[in-house]
């Protein structure tokens, strides 16, 4: 799956299938700090992610 991490402005490709929660654990990202988008739809942590999916991890932190 393609994963875009907004905060770091980088895209990675992962050859795996897992839940959104497992993905965040692997990337060491606190779920309270992001919203997750799969194929342009927002999803919850229990969502199953497959190899063809395009995932965006959008940061909720901004400003200053």
């Amino acid at each position: 799956m393609k994963v875009f991490i907004e905060k770091e402005n980088k895209q990675i490709v992962l050859d795996k299938e897992c839940t959104a929660k497992e993905l965040l654990v692997e990337l060491d990202i606190n779920p309270t700090t992001v919203i997750l988008v799969k194929n342009n739809e927002t999803i919850l942590l229990d969502e199953e992610l497959f190899k063809d999916d395009e995932i965006k991890i959008l940061s909720v932190v901004s400003g200053g």
Binding site: E6, K7, N9, N30, P31, T32, T33, I35, V37, E41, T42, I43, L44, D46, L58, S59, V60, V61, S62, G63, G64
Partner: protein, 306 residues
């Protein structure tokens, strides 16, 4: 997971309830309107100025203010402070302009360069040499321009995008610094209500988390580019923010708990510190302040000499 109110797919989950897109938007709007009514943040005879940077919080609060003001026929406009932070503010100002043009909202832009003769980037360099932190310089000067701008444009209330995260962070920061007096100055309405040189600040997103605002902005398809102030990592606030997010993950509702507990004692805090807040008028600019010269004029004197 399904929405708790209908059979559609959920996009948000909080405090044991799940929300589909429509029910989330409804929940968000009701929560903001309830806050506005409960604390009388906007009333019929008000002229509302929305402090808008162009980031997600300010676009969300500007949109919600527009809905409320149109519903109740209240005059409003947006005010942007262009501090002059390269590769950051210019992007959010473009987002703000696009947004205001789309919704036909009047907006004004005031810049540090025009008012102080220097951009924030230039002032930070000068400030660091004198031991001034970036957020202190920016905060004091930005607050001053917002108040002057809102006042000069005839506003009676200044709406800001401060949210649940901002408020719980500010409360904890003051607590760690041992300053309950500063906490007495927080809350959904702040400022000197009896002083016509000071425009009251109000926070319609007071009970809305950053996550909810970001989701709202995404679902409403607002053009928001991710942007974090390049100076934020130098701040104590960033550290408190990260720790608070860790606690929120461990125990959902932590931020809500902090803010609600704070609101419970806020009237007592205000009473306790009521008479300790003496203010006069700045001898240089005439704005209300605590000493003889206001903090903005002190900074201007220190940093804005050519």
């Amino acid at each position: 997971m399904k929405c708790s109110s209908c059979s559609k797919k959920a996009v948000y989950s909080s405090q044991g309830r799940n929300y589909c897109k429509d029910h989330f938007l409804n929940y968000f709007e009701r929560k903001v309107f309830r806050t506005i009514r409960k604390f009388s943040l906007m009333q019929h005879n008000d002229k509302i100025c929305v402090a808008a940077s162009g980031g997600k919080d300010s676009l969300a609060v500007l949109y919600m203010t527009m809905l409320y003001c149109k519903k109740y026929n209240i005059e409003f406009f947006a005010l942007n402070i262009d501090e002059g932070i390269a590769d950051y503010r210019d992007h959010t100002i473009d987002d703000l302009k696009t947004f205001c043009e789309k919704y036909d909202i009047k907006y004004h832009i005031v810049s540090f360069k025009e008012k102080f003769g220097f951009t924030l980037d230039e002032l930070i360099k000068k400030g660091l040499e004198k031991g001034k932190k970036p957020c202190t310089v920016c905060g004091i000067l930005r607050r001053t321009l917002l108040n002057r701008g809102a006042r000069d444009l005839g506003a009676t209330k200044l709406v800001t995008g401060h949210n649940l995260d901002d408020e719980s962070q500010a409360y904890l920061m003051n607590l760690f610094l041992g300053s309950m007096r500063h906490n007495a100055s927080l809350g959904p309405v702040t400022g000197l209500s009896t002083n016509n040189k000071f425009v009251l600040r109000v926070k319609p997103l007071y009970f809305i988390s950053e996550k909810e605002t970001r989701l709202f902005a995404f679902l409403k398809k607002f053009e928001v580019h991710f942007s974090e102030c390049p100076n934020i990592n130098l701040s104590f606030r960033a550290k408190v923010r990260d720790k608070l997010n860790e606690l929120e993950l461990l125990r959902e509702g932590t931020k809500n708990g902090i803010v609600n507990a704070f609101l419970d004692v806020l009237p007592d805090l205000k009473e306790k510190y009521r008479n300790t807040k003496k203010f006069s008028y700045c001898e240089k600019c005439g704005d209300p302040c605590a000493g003889k010269i206001c903090n903005a004029c002190i900074l201007e004197e220190e940093l804005c000499q050519k």
